[in-house]
């Protein structure tokens, strides 16, 4: 894969990201009943719904790298914005469950993908040879 190809993928991923975020925010603003600086619950509901749809789309098209990347990063932005704005309003059991789910995924990923590499055979052989 050439460097130009990777650059094109990143570029289109960025374009999809920007349009996905713009679509979610413009829709949420349009449906917002409060308007201005105070947003209604419908605003946050639209943002969370959009993020769920984007995650599903991103996972579904994971073989098409730029599309998946754009949707997943835009869902990141929407979820973090909604969480950051209304984090104190979430009840404690729900926060506990949310953090537990994130922790479980992190543990599974670290356990399966980030184990320490075993020493290479050549290195262990040279160690054996140098031993008295």
């Amino acid at each position: 894969m050439s460097g130009k190809n990777v650059l094109m993928k990143l570029f289109f991923g960025g374009i999809i990201f920007l349009f996905a975020v713009a679509l979610a925010y413009t829709t949420a603003n349009y449906l917002d009943e409060g308007g201005g600086y105070t947003h209604s619950s419908k605003y946050w509901l639209v943002l969370m719904s959009a993020s769920v749809v984007y995650i599903l789309l991103g996972v579904t098209v994971s073989s098409v790298f730029p599309v998946s990347l754009g949707f997943l990063f835009s869902s990141d932005v929407l979820i973090l914005h909604a969480l950051g704005a209304r984090y104190n309003e979430i009840p404690d059991p729900a926060k506990t469950a949310l953090v537990a789910i994130i922790l479980i995924i992190l543990y599974v990923f670290a356990w399966q993908k980030l184990g320490d590499e075993p020493p290479s055979p050549s290195a262990s052989q040279s160690t054996l040879q140098s031993a008295p």
Partner: protein
């Protein structure tokens, strides 16, 4: 191969960014426990990132770009686990209305994490995350126990003593015998 590694990293990175973002939000609200200034939590995050960045730069000179990406990924996971573990304990304690059994659960959970981290041999990412996260959880549980009165303080001191003796015997057994 290197490009594929980078692509794999980019695909997993949305979740890591989400986890780090949640960590930042939790740290922001967490700051109310120890101090009223959220600036302190941002300062701690800033220091942690500076240390990790220095480490990546230092070891990165002899590493290929995919290896550097793995190092960054490990650092992101260690930070997330280390901060989300005490956050989880905090919310669990608050869900149990900050009762004494809830705080004792957090204390046992913290010591268990430290022990689990000490026992790990070939997974350093989880080892560091568990030890740091467990230590922060234990500190949080102790700060709660101290607030609850005289009897919980006795429990705190006794539990700490038992755990310290247990860990020392477990980790230093070979050295004591030899």
């Amino acid at each position: 191969m290197a490009v594929m590694e980078i692509l794999a990293f980019v695909l997993i990175s949305p979740f890591l960014i989400l986890a780090l973002g949640l960590t930042g939000i939790a740290l922001w609200t967490w700051s109310g426990v120890f101090t009223s200034a959220p600036v302190l939590s941002l300062f701690i995050l800033f220091i942690v990132f500076i240390v990790i960045w220095g480490r990546v730069r230092e070891t990165g000179r002899t590493m290929t770009p995919p290896q550097q990406l793995v190092l960054v990924r490990r650092a992101a996971i260690i930070i997330s686990i280390a901060i989300l573990l005490p956050t989880f304990a905090r919310y669990a304690v608050q869900s149990l209305h900050s009762s004494l059994p809830g705080v004792i659960f957090a204390l046992i959970f913290g010591f268990w994490l430290i022990l689990w981290g000490l026992m790990m041999r070939d997974r350093r990412t989880l080892m560091y995350g568990n030890i740091v996260g467990g230590a922060l959880t234990v500190m949080y549980a102790y700060s709660w126990l101290w607030e609850l009165g005289e009897f919980p303080r006795i429990i705190a001191a006794a539990f700490g003593l038992a755990a310290a003796v247990g860990i020392a015997v477990f980790k230093l057994k070979d050295k004591l015998i030899s």
